[in-house]
Each structure stands twice: as structure tokens, then as C-alpha cells.
């Protein structure tokens, strides 16, 4: 009797001692993110809504909007997103389906398809500028096969359309993999039975994608589009590397105001615009792709 009591007493005491453990384990992360994430963000709001004297005002926002570059940055960022995201969504879905098709040499395809995930937008911009520049590889190839008589100026600073296309090519090349990873994970969670059943009943490939895979993949599609759109508003170095000063985007203006003009208030105002647009885009995706309760599978 006594021996049992002696054994159980320390056990309960020990259990109580461990109850605080998870909090101690997450404390460093919570503290760090509080200091280096949450606090700077609050400061960012403050910076954007204050003028140089520290008084609350919309001066920074007014300076930002009155600057001619604001409209340019806004329109270029939006144009880029409109061109890039739909194309890369289709491409990412296609790549995920290809990886899911268990092709021979799938391991090698997997490695190659994943490569852009670890490539920065600066490196992508530099690589694609070697392709698009007047004495670059694209002109070499087009000239070689006889399509072009003489080099074409792809990166023409006076043509916004051409600049958008060039940056879009680099962005599609670099950031499609990111969507593919999320979509592929979603694809793998779909039980094989469903597609096989559809196949038995005579559904072709596109019917299977449309009626089986698409509805079941919807949560993953939502996340992939959501995160990709959020990151798309941050597009930065690839634009500078490819267009020089020919085009500008919101993040590049934020950088310019902070680093060159040394006005952190206007820079912060730009970052607030980027945040606002990201959250608005996220809301649009969540609403547009929501699944009505009665049609939910789980």
C-alpha cells in the first residue's frame, strides 16, 4: 500500500511540473517574433502615418500619391500580376499532374521542376537579361533560325508592353514551382480510387481533371493562389535587373524612398499599400473559391 502511494505521489507532481513545458518551449519564438515581427509592423503603421516632425498626418501618403512614379509602379505591378498568375497557375497545375503521372525518370523531372524554388528573383532577372538583351541569346536563336534579320530590342524602355512580357517570362520561370509544390501535395492527398472510379465509368483525362481532381484540389488551389498573389505584390529585384530604370514596381519605389531619398515615411506608406493589396487579394481569393457548406466533403 505505502509503496504504491510513494510511487504515485511523485508521478502526479512530475506531471504538473511538465504542464508549463510547452509554454517554455514556444516562449523564445513568441518573444523573438514579438520583437522582430509584430513590433516593426506596428512601427511601420506609425511611420506611414507620421510626418518628419512626428505629428500624425497623411503627408507621407499624399507625397506618395502625388509622385508620378506611384501610378507607374501601381500599373506595372498589377499588369505583371494579371499576366503572370493565370499563366503560372495553369502551368503549375500541369507540372503537378505530370509529376503525379509517375513517368519514368520522374525523380529527375522532380529535381528539375523544383530547381526554381531555390533561385532568387535577382538571379532570375540576371539570367533572363542575358536572354533578352539586344546581343543576347534569344536574338541569337531567332537570328540563327532565320526569323529575325537583325537583333530585336526586347527590353525597349519605351515599350511597357515588352517590359511586362520580359519580366513576366522571368517571373513565370522562377515562381511557378512554388505553386506546383502546394498543388502537388494536394494532388497526392486525393485517393487514387476516385480517379480510377471515374476512369472505369469512362471519364477521359480532362473530364477527370474537371470533375474529380479540381473539386478535391480546391483547398490547395486556394492556398496556392493566395500565397502566390501575396508574394506577387512584393516583386522587386527581377524588375530592376531586367528593366533598369525602364519600369518600376511598388517594392522598388519603397526601396528607392528609403535608400535613396532617405524618407522612411513614404517608404512605409508604400509598404502599407503593398500590405493592403496583399490582404485584399487574399480576401478576394477566399471569397471567390469558398466551398459552400453543403458541398463540403469533410
Amino acid at each position: 500500500m505505502t509503496s504504491i502511494a510513494q510511487e504515485t505521489a511523485p508521478l502526479t507532481r512530475r506531471k504538473r511540473r511538465w504542464e508549463g513545458l510547452p509554454y517554455w518551449l514556444i516562449l523564445p519564438t513568441v518573444a523573438y517574433l514579438g520583437v522582430f515581427f509584430v513590433w516593426p509592423m506596428i512601427q511601420g503603421f506609425g511611420l506611414a502615418l507620421q510626418d518628419e516632425t512626428g505629428a500624425w498626418s497623411f503627408t507621407a501618403f499624399r507625397t506618395m500619391v502625388d509622385d508620378a512614379a506611384f501610378g507607374e509602379a501601381m500599373s506595372f505591378t498589377f499588369l505583371l500580376i494579371l499576366v503572370v498568375v493565370p499563366i503560372q497557375f495553369v502551368l503549375a497545375l500541369g507540372m503537378a499532374l505530370l509529376l503525379n503521372a509517375r513517368l519514368r525518370g520522374g525523380g529527375l523531372f522532380l529535381y528539375i521542376f523544383l530547381l526554381p524554388l531555390a533561385i532568387s528573383d535577382l538571379a532570375a532577372g540576371i539570367a533572363w537579361s542575358a536572354i533578352f538583351t539586344e546581343r543576347g541569346y534569344l536574338n541569337t536563336i531567332l537570328g540563327g533560325v532565320g526569323v529575325l534579320e537583325q537583333p530585336f530590342i526586347f527590353l525597349d524602355p519605351t515599350s511597357k508592353t515588352q517590359l511586362v512580357i520580359a519580366v513576366a517570362a522571368a517571373e513565370i520561370w522562377r515562381s511557378t514551382t512554388f505553386m506546383m509544390v502546394i498543388l502537388f501535395a494536394g494532388l497526392q492527398a486525393i485517393p487514387k480510387d476516385y480517379t480510377e472510379a471515374a476512369e472505369v465509368f469512362g471519364a477521359g483525362f480532362f473530364q477527370r481533371v474537371r470533375h474529380v481532381i479540381f473539386p478535391m484540389l480546391k483547398p490547395s488551389i486556394q492556398v496556392a493562389l493566395l500565397l502566390r498573389l501575396i508574394f506577387a505584390f512584393e516583386v522587386f529585384a527581377v524588375v530592376i535587373a531586367l528593366t533598369g530604370s525602364g519600369a518600376t514596381v511598388l517594392a522598388a519605389e519603397a526601396y528607392k524612398w528609403q535608400a535613396t531619398n532617405e524618407n522612411e515615411h513614404v517608404a512605409a506608406a508604400y509598404s502599407m499599400v503593398i500590405l493592403g493589396l496583399s490582404l485584399a487579394a487574399a480576401a478576394v481569393i477566399l471569397v471567390a473559391l469558398r466551398t459552400p457548406r453543403e458541398r463540403r466533403l469533410r
Binding site: 510547452p22 528539375i112 520561370w173 509598404s271 500590405l275
Partner: protein
Amino acid sequence: MALPRIRVGRVFAYVAALAVAAFILAPIYLITISAFSSFDAVYEYPKNLVPTDASMESMNIFLESDGVTDSLLRSAYVAAITIVLCLALGTPAGYALARFTFRGGNPFQLALVSTRAFPLIIIAIPLAVTYLRVGIDDTVIGVALAHVAFTLPLTVLVTASVFAGISYELEEAAMTLGCNRLSAFRKIALPLALPGVAASAIFVFVTSWNEVFAAALLTLRERTLPAQMLAALDTSPLPYRLAGGFFLLAPALVVIFFIRKYLLTTWGRVAR
């Protein structure tokens, strides 16, 4: 009737996969041959698509330029500090999320996921202001601290997913055999989690190595490689840019090889 149609689909799949692979590999191939070519070859037109005379001329121009080797070293330091801090802070939190159900656990996890909705640009600008005041502007440690802020949430989520994949019963068994909680973690859970944790460290490395916006804002002379490249874009000669671009891109080839499996399992799941 059905059989040939499947074959056609199969052939189409291979053609499509090869086309995508070619699209991805082409720019990597082109910047590689440009980086390892002579000065004349970089400027010649039409270009040589197949290198006949590989040369270290461009590469040497880049590596011997002012500040390049320093910036390479700095990038490595920043990445190393970021990895150490991220794992030291994040692994315990990941373990807590995987092993305990505690009040506040779910909101904590949700908060980590939602940090991704906030562009790093928003925190980079106020950090630059604070760093000036505190006196860690233009330092390697300052850039690393910012990089930890961007990479810590994902590190916690990924390590949580790694630990969740290791059966807790193994640790319990060790504890019945005389281990305490800490030694059970050290001897059982940690070794089993090591490959996954290493993969997440590699991912932190590549994120830090690639990050350009904050690095460029927070430094002036103590530039990391991407910050150095960004600053030199419109002033440097073409061979310099191409060789530098290759240095930025090269780690991807190695990194993806080591973490490709984890990217699809762990990351894909975490992202949802």
C-alpha cells in the same frame, strides 16, 4: 481501342515534361556558360550556344572586383547565423506543437501560418530605422536578425511536422527504460528528426542567401552578395553581372538535390 489512346496520352506527358524541363534548364545553362567564358565571348554576337572555349576570364573579373569576396563571405556568415538562431529558437517550439496539446497551441500555429500574409517589406523598413537608432545598421548580425524574423515561422511549422511524423511511443518507451524527458528527446526524437531538421536548415540557408530587399536596405558597405549585386547592376560590366548571377543561382542546384523529398512532403503539407 482504349490502349492506343493511353499510349498517346503517355507520349504527350513525356513531351510536355521534357518541354517544361527544357524551359527551366535553358536559362540556368545559358548563365552558366556565360559565367565561364572569356571577356570577348560575353560581348560577341551572335552568341555561341555551345561553349567551345571555356574560360575563367569573366569569373576572375568578378571575383577580383572590389568587395566581391567580402560579400560572398558575409552572405555565408549571415546564412550561418540565421540557421543557428532559427533552429535554436524554432526547434523547441516545433517540438511543443507536435507533442503537446495546450491552450494557445492552435492560435500560436495559426499566427505562424498567417505571418506569411505580411510581406517582409513591411518589417524591413521599420527595422532599418530601429537599427540606425540601436547602432546595428550596416552589420552582418543586423541582416541575420531580420532573416530570422522571415524564416522562423516556417522553421517552427516544418520542424513540428517532422516531429509529428516520429512516433511518441518511442520516446515513451525510452522513458520507461530509464530516460528522462530530456534524454529521451536527445537520444530518440532528435536523431530521428535530424534529416528533416537538416532539410529545414538548408531551406533557411537558401532563403537567407537569396534575400535581397532587406539585405540591401539594412546595409551600405557591409553588403551581402545579393545586396552587392543589386547595387552594382547598373554600374558593373556585363561579365561581372553574369558571373555574379551564376554565384547567386548555383546553390540552388545543390540545395534542391538534398531537400527535394522534403519539399514535397513536409512543405506541401505545411503550406496547407
